[in-house]
């Protein structure tokens, strides 16, 4: 859930100054510099390049420019959230409107209406406390298990909303 290994392609452009024995290393390093840490609506967060498929393809020289383009195929570790999946997340912020939690760099908002009504917001401690079980408190750095209710995707990022209303959701650890 969330993390996948996928095969992707990227056209890596290389300047003629690199056309020597270290070309392969340059290609791989350039690929990593260009894709690692990026996020797309389609594949999610590219966390790490795992492997560049061998043999490397031949470069295609651009007429009149001298650059070569290498269509590299590589395996990547990505994180892609899906509506309906259950995830554990770390609480970063608690307000009377709801809870902000993170899965790595992905922020998921759980609105007040998606928190059980037997939990009340305590302004002073910036937390949600259960009226039944006072020890049960959701605050910054708590881990909560939530279900992703909705995801909005645009070209380069995600916003997600979630719920802890259903059975087996809520505080973990």
């Amino acid at each position: 859930m969330g993390f996948f290994q996928v095969e992707l392609t990227k056209n890596v452009r290389v300047h003629p100054r690199h056309f020597h024995s270290k070309l392969k290393e340059t290609l791989i390093q350039t690929l990593m510099d260009e894709v690692e840490g990026t996020v797309s609506g389609r594949f999610g967060f590219v966390v790490s390049v795992l492997e560049v498929l061998q043999p490397l393809p031949k470069g295609i020289l651009r007429e009149g420019f001298g650059f070569a383009i290498y269509p590299l195929k590589y395996k990547a570790l990505v994180f892609r959230p899906f509506k309906g999946e259950v995830l554990d997340a770390v609480v970063t912020n608690v307000t009377r409107h709801g809870i902000f939690a993170q899965v790595g760099p992905l922020t998921i908002f759980v609105s007040r209406h998606q928190i059980p009504s037997d939990m009340t917001h305590d302004e002073e401690t910036a937390s949600y406390i259960s009226v039944v079980e006072k020890a049960e408190r959701i605050q910054r750095d708590s881990a909560i298990r939530l279900r992703v209710n909705g995801i909005k995707i645009d070209a380069s990022s995600f916003t997600a909303v979630g719920t802890i209303l259903d059975d087996y959701l809520g505080l973990v650890e």
Binding site: M1, G2, F4, Q5, E36, V47, L77, P105, K152, D167
Partner: protein, 155 residues
């Protein structure tokens, strides 16, 4: 957002239908992950496996000298922190055992396998509630056995 409200599926020419409507069709509870994440194209990984991959990468980067050594993207750092916190099995041997155990249950989708490993439900009822696609796929006693075996690998 404008794209989503403007496009009415039935009136859009078929060439445009693929744009930005994908999230509406996805639903993990019925294993609809879209074409890019079908089981032929994408392999779901457990948090433990990701933890191993990321720490190897971090160790490799540290061995390099000079300015490259600590140049991790913030995406990488945040996921590394996340998996270290939620890794239940800790270590290559446990992670491998978990993977072998899950692979034996051929009726399960790889996505469901990763969910079970990551969420570690206590019993079949919890498992089928948080991963609804399991409901008619595996009987409770087999599922309970699997969950017990998984729990034996946790740290």
């Amino acid at each position: 957002m404008v794209v989503e409200t403007m496009l009415n599926r039935s009136r859009v020419p078929s060439g445009l239908r693929s744009v930005q409507l994908v999230p509406e069709l996805e639903d993990a509870t019925t294993l609809q992950l879209g074409e890019d994440f079908s089981s032929e194209k994408a392999q779901p990984l457990t948090i433990s496996e990701v933890s191993i991959l990321l720490s190897r990468k971090r160790d490799m980067m540290r061995e390099l000298e000079g300015p490259r050594a600590e140049e991790f993207s913030s995406v990488f750092k945040k996921f590394l922190e996340y998996v270290e916190r939620f890794d239940r099995y800790k270590g290559l041997e446990a992670a491998t055992n978990v993977r072998s155990l899950l692979q034996r249950y051929e009726s399960l989708d790889p996505f469901e396998m990763a969910c079970l490993a990551n969420l570690c439900p206590a019993d079949a009822e919890e498992a089928k509630t948080i991963i609804p696609s399991l409901k008619h796929k595996i009987d409770d006693s087999s599922l309970n056995q699997l969950l017990q075996d998984l729990a034996s690998f946790t740290h």
